[in-house]
Subunit: 310 residues, 2 copies
């Protein structure tokens, strides 16, 4: 019977472990405790695990990361270099991000905040007409999440371009590749949506030069990672009108510290990392399917390439 460790700071881990046992009765599910006990587990489901995990468990055959981004895991001290890491693929997250981004695009381009303010004043006044053509969109990253976001926006007749590290055949959207391609895409983009994984290549990518390359009065939507964005550069780009407004769901430090200037900026919308949340049912189904495949010696998708960073 394979042993599975659950290693995530969840207030009620039994919500997960009970469901895993039900979905996969053939495994022994153990909640990780920092009590020094060695379980010789075969697999671990992890979210920001303590380094002690790797000091103690030496029989691990694979890690399942409870999220799409593995930037918090790859940097960990004592993570065995050869240990396969499998990240969550979609599991209900991409559709949440797609509707979150659509909400923010409509919110910003169709004056929804103005209409709410007008209602409080009992005011009936029609704002500027909808001019979809004035809002070309650029999506950074075309993984499962980026592709779903981009396609959902394209289905609403927005002109959508995508920026990728390596071109993928079969995508109908205009795709820009590499550093030179980024500059070209930004020059025709007025709404930029970041869905990139965090790697050494993408860290700090949204800096002052990036914002300056966008069409003027741009909208920035960051649902990737806080470390993609240089905070002071965004504030400067807003002050100079290069960026009109920004919606930020992720931050360098979370929770965003109380004294951070983003909180009080009228042009910045802050959400507490909720653009896509891990859905337990979908997540467990995906992990159980992959664990059974690994036990049967079959290949699985979502295997992280540590040198690539995702």
């Amino acid at each position: 019977m394979p042993k599975l460790l659950f290693v995530a700071a969840e207030p009620k881990p039994e919500r997960w472990t009970d469901a895993i046992r039900q979905a996969c009765p053939e495994v022994e599910v153990i909640v990780w405790k920092d009590d020094g006990q060695v379980h010789d587990a075969d697999y671990a489901i992890v979210w920001r695990p303590p380094p002690a995990l790797f000091a103690r468990e030496h029989k691990l055959k694979a890690l399942f990361n409870l999220g799409a981004g593995v930037d918090g895991l790859l940097g960990l001290d004592k993570l065995p270099a050869e240990l396969p890491i499998i990240r969550l693929e979609d599991a209900g997250m991409s559709v949440q991000m797609a509707e979150f981004v659509i909400h923010q695009v409509v919110e910003q381009t169709r004056d929804m905040a103005v209409y709410r303010a007008q209602q409080r004043q009992g005011l009936w006044r029609i704002q500027r007409p909808i001019t979809r053509t004035e809002w070309p969109i650029g999506v950074l990253g075309m993984g499962r999440i980026g592709a779903r976001v981009a396609n959902a926006l394209a289905a609403l007749d927005y002109a959508v371009s995508a920026w990728v590290r390596t071109p993928r055949p079969g995508n109908p959207l205009p795709v820009f590749v590499g550093k030179a391609g980024l500059r070209d895409m930004l020059a025709r983009t007025r709404i930029v949506v970041n869905t990139l994984p965090l790697t050494d290549e993408t860290r700090d990518i949204m800096d002052y030069d990036f914002f300056s390359a966008l069409l003027p009065g741009a909208i920035v939507i960051n649902v990737g990672r806080g470390e993609h964005l240089v905070d002071d550069d965004l504030l400067r780009a807003i002050a100079e009108g290069k960026v009109h407004s920004a919606t930020l769901d992720v931050f360098r430090e979370e929770p965003l510290p109380p004294q951070h200037p983003f909180w009080q900026s009228p042009n910045i919308t802050i959400t507490p990392h909720v653009s896509a949340r891990t859905l337990r049912e979908e997540t467990i189904a995906q992990i159980v399917t992959k664990m059974r495949a690994l036990e049967a010696g079959e290949p699985v998708t979502g295997l992280v390439n540590p040198s690539r960073g995702y």
Copy 2:
């Protein structure tokens, strides 16, 4: 040379007429004035025209309505019974309605107003998880607008049902038909979106019984016509918790009168009939194409059936 009258209370009618002349140099375009002059026009582009139009112009071969809904036109005194009326089909409106409805669905189901309030207080707190399965959607009407709204929501993995007068083959969504079907659909609907045309059959359709048939704590989105909804019944359904909240873009009287209780209801979101706006370029292209078809004796789509009401 065919003569075309432009009969709409536009502050700058030349924005329309100049563009029509450019798109269609073979017609003589005349802006209607209430000065008694008879032009013997062949066609008229109308939005809520004065009855004097029909008293004076007797050579009209067809009317082009500057909107999808013809309820304001069919009731007009002196409208010749045999005069063909062609309504606007889509012309950029359906995609606007689709994104407007998605915005409101996300706004209501994902606590976006709570997150905005939290930001003003510098508060980082994650609200209830996203539970798409708790929000089955019912769309009333499957014309061009309803179908686009329904399909856009279904593409975001919502369970969408549709209610129609007559069943249409080829639509993949579950479809409910007629009075009995309406009750069945409402019983499985928690978000109801109205895109119906206003006819004698659909007037006052959203009444207390209608709201009571929905799943409890429902969300009502009205982008059809104000006359579809019984105002007092909505307020009662909200007070009783049958309806949690409503987004209303259309009203029995527009602008909504200042003393109307909707303005100050915290559970009602009011927008001033902006969920879809007529886009001049698309509209003119559509009308010109159809006018040329009529001149050539060819059939056109969008012909109104007065006995059906749309």
